[in-house]
């Protein structure tokens, strides 16, 4: 494409099919303890 550069190709919709296993880290166990930071967590299956 000439006008648009897309940074990612994985759609959130695709994660509906296999997601929801719950094995991932609880967000407040990472560093935050005072905010809800979820978008920066990683999926247990892509580590």
């Amino acid at each position: 494409m000439k006008h648009i550069k897309t940074l990612n190709t994985k759609s959130l919709q695709n994660t509906m099919k296999k997601g929801g296993c719950g094995e991932c880290q609880t967000s407040c166990q990472s560093a935050c303890k005072t905010s809800c930071t979820v978008g920066n967590q990683s999926c247990e299956h892509t580590k």
Binding site: H3, N8, C28, Q29, T34, S35, G39
Partner: protein, 453 residues
């Protein structure tokens, strides 16, 4: 729904529901804005005819159409039904925050635990209570294998022997029950020594080291009880600890307040000290506190995030980059949509345990007896509270439905909401605005780094 913004010379477009991130040129940026208003190409041509050649406008609109057809622009929110079903599922407990010590050797001004005591008495968790907590976790974790336990406080190193004994107990029990404990420790560093570091490097998946940044900032907010600063004591130890963990699986973790709104300097100070994993987060405090973040502080804070983002790009390009927790976004493999929309799990998957074995929905509710949810002997007693917390997700908050950030914050922190609105299921607006800004910066950084590739 799309969210478009300009930052650091980049025209950014986030397609909210698919999570697709696009960097576009000026004509496409303007075309998208009109498409988002429901305009057709003829109207767009008319509106932009003085600014761009017709062919350019047409080509940009065509590319937008292609992305729309590919499910990467103007996608619908198809998740609500699935998330409601997901929220109805029987939940398991997967993480505990163990308040190993309700006591602290520092007297930080902003401590939500009130110098470690959480509105209560000073106390240390006994090994017996800690074991019961781990037993409860194992028994209530269903088929989940990875179990997380954070040694928290107060200051957990004030009860270090119990930490070590609980790790040993956990290692013994995980074999019996086919579980895998992931232990973490949060410490202010005062009692940190070689023995603690060695033990943590063997047993702790992550350590969180509390330091606020520049010496004067740190010492002002994090003094000893008699007033002396703690910076000089902890910095060399934290540096050694970080190196001994190969600059990974740790965070130096600071708090910024109304008194250091120029916190980008604190983040960069930590980077200059050699730390590679840095988290500096806004204080959460009632508006009555002098150090609380106020609405009028936001423009300064936003500017600081911009300064930080630009400097991070620069340092990355120079080969001396570092991670800033609140700018971390994984565009290729982040969490699934269930995780993104179903909230942090406080009160359901995640519980805090006091030194005497009471359960609270999370560490921030500890001490508020309205939220006393159970204990290590009886388990969960207040199932009504569990239900309330289970309902905390993006779709239960009307503000989230129009917010582009909802897939990144999961609806925000229930404790923040409670502190500011008196309800767990509301939003903390100042926090939301900072979160939105951080996401904008994080995506811009991705765009800048993608340019290099």
């Amino acid at each position: 729904m799309i969210h478009q913004y300009k930052n650091n010379g980049y025209n950014m477009v986030l397609d909210v529901n698919s999570g697709s991130v696009h960097v576009v040129d000026d004509v496409t940026y303007d075309v998208l804005s009109l498409l988002d208003q429901g305009k057709q190409e003829e109207e767009i041509q008319e509106a932009l005819k003085d600014r761009y050649p017709a062919q350019e406008i047409h080509d940009a609109a065509q590319e937008c159409q292609e992305l729309k057809e590919a499910g990467m622009l103007f996608t619908d929110d198809v998740y609500e039904g699935a998330i409601e079903m997901f929220a109805e599922r029987p939940t398991v407990v997967k993480a505990l925050c163990l308040h190993i010590a309700h006591d602290c050797n520092l007297a930080c001004r902003y401590c939500f635990a009130e110098e470690g005591e959480y509105h209560g008495r000073r106390a240390l968790m006994s090994l017996e209570v800690g074991k019961k907590a781990l037993d409860f976790l194992i028994a209530n974790s269903g088929s989940r294998r990875n179990l997380e336990v954070d040694f928290f406080g107060g200051e957990p190193l004030m009860n270090w022997q119990v930490v070590k004994d609980l790790v040993a107990y956990g290692r013994e029990q995980e074999k019996i029950h086919n579980k895998n404990f992931r232990f973490t420790l949060t410490t202010n560093g005062v009692l940190l020594d070689d023995e603690v570091m060695e033990f943590c490097n063997k047993e702790m998946g992550n350590v969180v080291l509390s330091i606020d940044g520049r010496k004067e900032v740190h010492d002002f907010m994090r003094p000893f009880r008699k007033g002396a600063g703690s910076y000089d004591l902890i910095v060399p130890k934290f540096q050694k600890f970080a190196e001994s963990r190969n600059q990974d699986n740790y965070y130096v973790r600071g708090t910024f307040t109304h008194y250091n709104l120029d916190f980008a300097a604190d983040v960069l100070h930590l980077a200059d000290l050699g730390f590679k994993q840095i988290s500096v987060e806004p204080v959460v405090a009632p508006p009555t506190e002098d150090y609380a973040i106020r609405e009028e502080d936001l423009p300064i804070i936003f500017e600081q995030y911009d300064i930080l983002a630009k400097e991070m790009i620069k340092r990355h390009k120079e080969g001396r980059g570092f991670n800033f927790f609140h700018f971390m976004i994984d565009l290729t493999g982040g969490p699934c949509v269930y995780k993104r929309l179903s909230g942090c799990g406080s009160g359901t998957e995640y519980l805090a345990v006091t030194p005497w074995g009471d359960f609270y929905p999370c560490h921030q509710f500890v001490g508020n007896e309205e939220f006393l949810i159970g204990n290590v002997d009886e388990g969960i007693v207040r199932t009504d509270l569990t239900c309330d917390f289970k309902k905390c997700n993006v779709y239960s908050k009307k503000e989230c439905s129009s917010c582009f950030a909802r897939f990144y914050c999961s609806g925000g922190c229930a404790a923040n909401s409670y502190n500011f609105t008196g309800k767990i299921n509301d939003v903390y607006e100042i926090g939301c605005k900072m979160q939105q800004k951080r996401i904008e910066c994080a995506l811009m950084i991705k765009a800048a780094l993608a340019e290099e590739e």
